[in-house]
């Protein structure tokens, strides 16, 4: 005994309408994801930033997964519907172009199910050029469609022998009523929203990652200082200067303190040269040579640290300054040779002591 796959009674839904809000929102989101991921991936490749590249790859994958999971129940429901097979008569057909061997053809059909009212539907289906003469107006064909979506009619090109025999001997009347269509006319609103989403997605990525993509903001073109603090000192470094401020109760004349402070400004292996180093009791200031200028200045780590304390002491005691209150050591290498100048200020005026790069006293002067 031979049978065909059984049918079940299912209520047909409404045909698709022109651009529903859901379709528009989906188009907008799709455009946004495409724009954002493309911008992130291409931008990331250009500036060699892994987070951007990863964002460009992961974003569409995650969105695709979310879409897949969200539509899973609907697709499962639709897949469970047993398609209905019926005879249909071709009311009209028109090849609508195409350069391939399968040309798209617009069919207007009157479908006559065995156990449901006849209806008219307009569909579009590819037909091979060789088979095209088989389809002509008033010809009877076998069709298949999901009962809950009768506008999704498909012509069965290879029907079973039973349906082939039925189609060969059938005479069908045209069905009255409006024609359902499976392809709602595409509106420009959907395309525009998709384009808008694409642009906004690209702009969003450009804004979110503007620092990575374009570097620091123009308004803050001067590099921000790097500030680090500890319980005993505060270190501030910019591209031009570096300062170290000691905490209360400490002095640059303490053993090893000045060397440590200088090294804290020149750490990192960049070995930057200095034009001037100014040392006060609790403050160290280093003026670095401009970046790229290798010859100017001196290496601040080459200062005669073990001589600084005795030079300051000598200046305070031998320059004739009464009650010396403050001192300042200036190491100057702008002219090429390194010169140390210790200035002592007190109630009775100011005195200056000059020494060479090795800390050997060259001259005294006082007022």
């Amino acid at each position: 005994m031979t049978c065909t796959i059984s049918h079940m009674t299912i209520t047909a839904g409404a045909p698709p309408t022109h651009n529903t809000p859901t379709d528009l929102a989906l188009g907008f989101l799709t455009g946004g994801v495409i724009g954002a991921s493309l911008t992130a991936f291409i931008g990331g490749c250009i500036v060699e930033r892994a987070p951007l590249i990863v964002t460009g790859l992961v974003l569409p994958a995650v969105c695709g997964l979310v879409f897949f999971l969200a539509t899973l129940p609907r697709r499962a429901r639709e897949a469970a519907v047993v398609p209905r097979t019926a005879l249909a008569v071709i009311e009209d057909l028109e090849a609508v172009g195409g350069e391939t061997s399968d040309v798209p053809v617009r069919f207007e059909l009157s479908v006559a199910p065995d156990d449901a009212p006849a209806f008219r539907v307009e569909i579009r289906q590819d037909v091979n050029l060789v088979e095209l003469p088989d389809y002509r107006p008033r010809g009877v064909v076998v069709v298949e469609y999901p009962p809950d979506r009768p506008w999704k009619v498909r012509i069965v090109k290879r029907p079973t022998p039973q349906w082939e025999e039925r189609a060969a001997g059938a005479r069908l009347d045209s069905a009255p009523g409006p024609t359902m269509t499976s392809d709602p006319p595409a509106g420009c609103a959907g395309g525009l929203l998709t384009l808008l989403g694409l642009l906004l997605g690209a702009v969003a990525v450009l804004l979110l990652f503007r620092v990575d993509l374009f570097g620091p903001d123009e308004s803050s073109a001067s590099p921000r200082p790097s500030v680090s603090s500890s319980s005993s000192s505060t270190t501030t470094v910019t591209s031009a200067t570096g300062t170290v401020t000691l905490g209360p109760g400490q002095s640059m004349l303490d053993k090893g303190e000045l060397r440590k402070a200088v090294e804290s400004l020149t750490q990192g292996g960049d070995k930057r040269r200095a034009l001037t180093v100014v040392v006060q009791d609790r403050l160290l200031t280093v003026v670095f040579s401009p970046t790229g200028v290798k010859t100017a200045g001196f290496d601040p780590r080459s200062l005669p640290y073990d001589r600084v304390s005795s030079l300051v002491e000598e200046a305070r005691t031998t320059l004739g300054v009464d009650s010396p209150q403050s001192w300042q050591l200036t190491a100057d290498g702008v002219t090429g040779s390194l010169t140390l100048r210790v200035t002592v200020t007190g109630d009775g005026g100011t005195g200056t002591l000059e020494a060479d790069g090795r800390g050997k006293v060259q001259r005294h002067s006082g007022s």
């Binding site: 049978c3 892994a50 391939t100 060789v130 090109k157 290879r158 022998p161 039973q162």
Partner: protein, 287 residues
């Protein structure tokens, strides 16, 4: 997030996917395990139309017994129905499968299928974890690890499978020698034209269809895409067909060419194996 963190995340995600897949397989709920696999029989072979399309394969009517109702069901290969039927004769057994509870979503395979455990996707996830680990090793320890990671495992896999490939080739050569020879004819030449939407380039696929009758009286219709001179102009041409009596789907128009092809396949496999071993060795040397 740097590359190393991303690669660790990559391996972690695909590792979880693989574990879930293996767990589903153990629980017997994978798609493959929920598929009903049946054996169908070709009841009718419809002659292909000269100049038509190869898409969909040779048009056949297949019947199989529905295990749920016990009734005989007739179906055709209309639309997307699994593997393309490229060799057909009345009485040929082919595979018919469908998801449990959805017989209308049937699909064909050229031979009846064995039950599957559905480990394809979990295996692919493991492969992606492996790729991530190789890249991670190359990033962390140096690029020679990419050579070792690529060449080493695949060379081992090649060493395991190479003897089997040689034995398969020998069996194939034996079957070629034992083939029967009959006269056949090119009954149609199928033509598919597609256009590249980007550059407008036109692609044309020519598929000759031969028909021959075996010594046992079986009329075979089959796509024949190799060993036929000027396939576009072959319509109506008489040909000599060599076929395996046990399975007429295994046929050729040129046994010598098939023999050479088998030899080339083995040589290619050996070359690939050597390249993989060399890749791994170079990686070790460069460490």
């Amino acid at each position: 997030m740097g590359w190393d963190e991303f690669l660790v995340l990559w391996c972690g995600v695909w590792g979880v996917v693989a574990v879930i897949g293996f767990a589903r397989s153990l629980a017997g709920v994978t798609k493959a395990q929920r598929t009903i696999r049946l054996t169908g029989r070709i009841e009718r072979v419809r002659a292909p139309r000269h100049g038509g399309s190869r898409v969909g394969g040779i048009s056949v009517v297949v019947s199989y017994r529905d295990p749920a109702s016990g009734q005989e069901v007739s179906v055709t290969n209309d639309g997307e129905r699994g593997e393309m039927i490229t060799s057909a004769w009345e009485g040929r057994e082919i595979g018919v499968s469908h998801p449990r509870g959805r017989p209308h979503a049937y699909r064909f395979s050229n031979v009846p299928e064995e039950p599957s455990r559905g480990l394809g996707w979990p295996g692919f996830a493991v492969f992606l974890v492996y790729v991530g680990l190789v890249v991670l090793a190359a990033v962390e320890w140096g690029w020679p690890w990419a050579l070792i990671g690529l060449g080493g495992p695949w060379a081992v896999s090649g060493a395991v499978h190479l003897p089997g490939a040689v034995r398969a080739k020998n069996r194939r050569v034996e079957r070629l020698a034992a083939m029967e020879t009959v006269a056949g004819r090119v009954v149609a030449v199928l033509k598919d034209v597609s256009v590249d939407q980007d550059d407008g380039h036109t692609w044309t696929t020519i598929t000759p269809v031969v028909s021959f009758t075996t010594r046992e009286g079986t009329a075979v219709t089959a796509h024949c895409t190799s060993n036929l001179q000027d396939p576009a102009g072959a319509y109506g041409r008489a040909v000599t067909v060599h076929y395996t009596p046990a399975d007429p789907a295994e046929f050729t128009l040129d046994r010598a060419a098939e023999h050479r092809s088998e030899e080339r396949d083995v040589t290619f496999n050996v070359l690939v194996f050597v390249v993989l071993v060399a890749t791994a060795v170079v990686g070790v040397v460069l460490l």
